[in-house]
Symmetry: D2
Subunit: 254 residues, 4 copies
């Protein structure tokens, strides 16, 4: 009763115009937010110490180890994807061209596992080189960066020719490596200028290498980043002539 | 030779003051960035399908399953941590108080695995409740949010009483769950105002639930977020009276 | 000649596959970006020491001092705006309701000048109170905060009931004050969750008071910030019962 | 009375442990935040239609039109600043070198007014060229971009050789132009990598041209952006050989 009486007073007090009054105590419920209720997602499971983690329930599985149904040729979207599928992995077919997803995406979380060849050939950019192109445009570099010095903004974990990774957590050639990528797409205005930049967070083998990095534009081999307005786009995988393999690829639109 | 001749011309051309000249072609090397070379980190390994991933080589291991040497009582930093250690996990000792790390941290990547009791008791906030306090201040909620409706900004994956998770990827009680947290600390000025806010990215069981979310301030049970200037701080684990367990905790300062 | 010779060598060097080679010198043109050419805008002019700055050429003038053609009643978009127009200013008609623009906006730069009554009445939130609602939802507070202590997140320059201004640069009652506001709208996903938050920068009387502040949701008098998906929205001006005036309002979509 | 009765009931309801209860209504006071109280700042005044706005009360005035006491030579901090002072403005003394402030700054708001020569000479980068270097490192370009096409990321309002302005709101040669710049400095880690990037917002003649743009690194004439760890730094003004003038320069540390 005493408590009630005090509360009533404090309510009356709240009607007062006395600006010196400090705020009354809130209740725990005041800061509860009930809706919308976050949607249920069943996370993936680690199926063995070597096979990685399965996709969460709301992901679109882009490659489950068996077929390239979700992929087409990057050069010609009407032609089938050129990579070879064997032993639960897809592998670049050198000089037959890159591949890209049939579907296009805006903001997303992407999981990709990749492996550079266990037989080491070449060095620098010439060793275990491929790439993951976000919206078909912005390259997160794939490279055998194990004991293989190259320019920092060209090694695994870099936004190619833009931002180096914070560290180099790459595994040895022949081992499976994982990318977890959080991406929000750029927003352009009528002038073709960016009003909200693209940002990307990249976790390589469980270690953050890009933390909300602003993407500066395209990631060309020669030239500087450029920006041309675009909508949704596919995920593309590069044929750089090396026998890089991929598995366990899934995407969740944010 | 022809190529060389052309290149020489283009160099000469570059010296011209003609503002109408479009830029010459760059070389691939123009956009290479070599230094600083990203530091080597050996990523952790998945040791079995059930034990999670080991820490990367540059992490400070806060709990490896054997002892609480890195922890003290939150109530009294001179007193030992109160949680119990058994079977490779540490577990809240209800009503004996929370624990915090001996060391303090600024910007970091934090990995924590946690498990709510397999025997389900209570509901809402009363079931499998604990919390991870970043810099000892900002709570990432730990809760058995499996088939247990509560307010969205109070379920697992929320910044407590602030921002709900994007989705609910929680596992069943008794299963180990993982948090991967990227955190940059707030920067305050002489007035005590924030000039660079704290941001946090949270991945729960491999699914992003917070993507560069601005932390609004403290995360009290009762009241609104407040901001008081602070420096580095510990990682704290909450005693909310439930037998929540933790394992495989490591941190990397960014 | 010597310089040319060196350049030729460096071009040849660039063709080498030696990964230890450091990048050649770029030319100035390499980092030039020509297109798209930024669109021409004629900035506004200061017409006198007391009348503020006119709108830039690409702005939509929402109020030029003469009429309310761009405005309707907030309560009923089919009814005319209720504010009174005199002496180049529009003034709240107390208890006749707020007003909002006919048009709706996404990302924008907004300029508003406002004046609290020179005759001071009331205190705290009861003095010279109005508000500017971005997209009709998120309130940038208008208040006579001159020698008038109220809660920090409720004074002029605050995101109402969310984030206090960095400082208090408010002028005396009866003086014209200016807001320059940069706003990017939130982006929601199909679940109704925010994937790109709204951010706002606010300059009050030439002094920054909000620097890329994340908007947490609605700004209610009672309650906590909420988020409901929405598209473009109007600019609204509040009737809080006080004779607050406005002039020189313009907006540029970003 | 009816209202009071309802409120009492809602308070009682809040004491229930029923997790299914939706939150009670908050009171207005619940979301009030009183401390810290934003510090008072007296904004500047427009003293005439032609002389711009005076500095706010908490600014460090770097140039008030009368002397270069706050400046030294960029080439040699022990030598006096080389610009000439006349008629309330300072002007580049061509080929005598740039100048920089005696003091160094971290996060700040900077106001600078500048004027390119009314007698137009040269074109492209050769016309009315100077620059404002934030922390002595990152150049916001100063250029007579009036009817003077050059590369977009080299015109007035650009982060030099990085990001073009959103639009071109430049005034005619001989007219005073204003920059309002909001800057937060980058934070580096022990590896020399950036953990919190530098961001800049630039308003040119009252029109936003950079909205929370991430600075990519240094802004060299030749080469790509580089990042080397640094602390506070001065504001520098460039001698590019043109008779560019400056006035009314002030800075507020954030």
């Amino acid at each position: 009763m005493k408590h009630l009486f005090f509360s009533v007073l404090s309510i009356l007090g709240a009607c007062s115009a006395n600006a010196q009054l400090k705020p009354e105590k809130m209740t725990p419920e005041s800061s509860e937010l009930w809706d919308p209720e976050p949607r249920l997602v069943t996370p993936g499971k680690i199926t063995s110490a070597t096979s990685g983690t399965t996709a969460p329930s709301d992901a679109l599985v882009l490659f489950d180890g068996t077929n390239l149904n979700q992929w087409v040729s990057s050069a010609d979207a009407k032609s089938p994807a050129t990579f070879t599928v064997a032993n639960g992995a897809m592998t670049v077919a050198p000089r037959k061209g890159g591949i890209q997803t049939r579907e296009e995406f805006g903001d997303f979380q992407l999981h990709v596992e990749w492996r550079s060849p266990s037989e080491v050939k070449g060095n620098g950019q010439g060793r275990g080189n491929s790439g993951i192109f976000l919206q078909g445009i912005y390259e997160v570099q794939v490279l055998d960066s194990h004991q293989n010095r190259t320019y920092a903004n060209g090694q695994a974990g870099s936004i190619y020719k833009q931002t180096p990774p914070l560290v180099n957590p790459v595994k040895a050639p022949g081992e499976w490596q994982s990318y977890d990528i959080l991406y929000t797409a750029p927003r352009f205005n009528k002038d073709g200028m960016i009003v909200v930049p693209a940002y990307v967070t990249v976790i390589l083998n469980g270690v953050v290498v890009q933390n909300h990095t602003q993407i500066q534009g395209t990631t060309p081999y020669v030239g500087r980043p450029l920006n041309t307005p675009h909508g949704k786009g596919p995920i593309s995988l590069q044929d750089h002539g090396d026998l890089v393999s991929f598995r366990n690829i899934w995407i969740r639109e944010l």
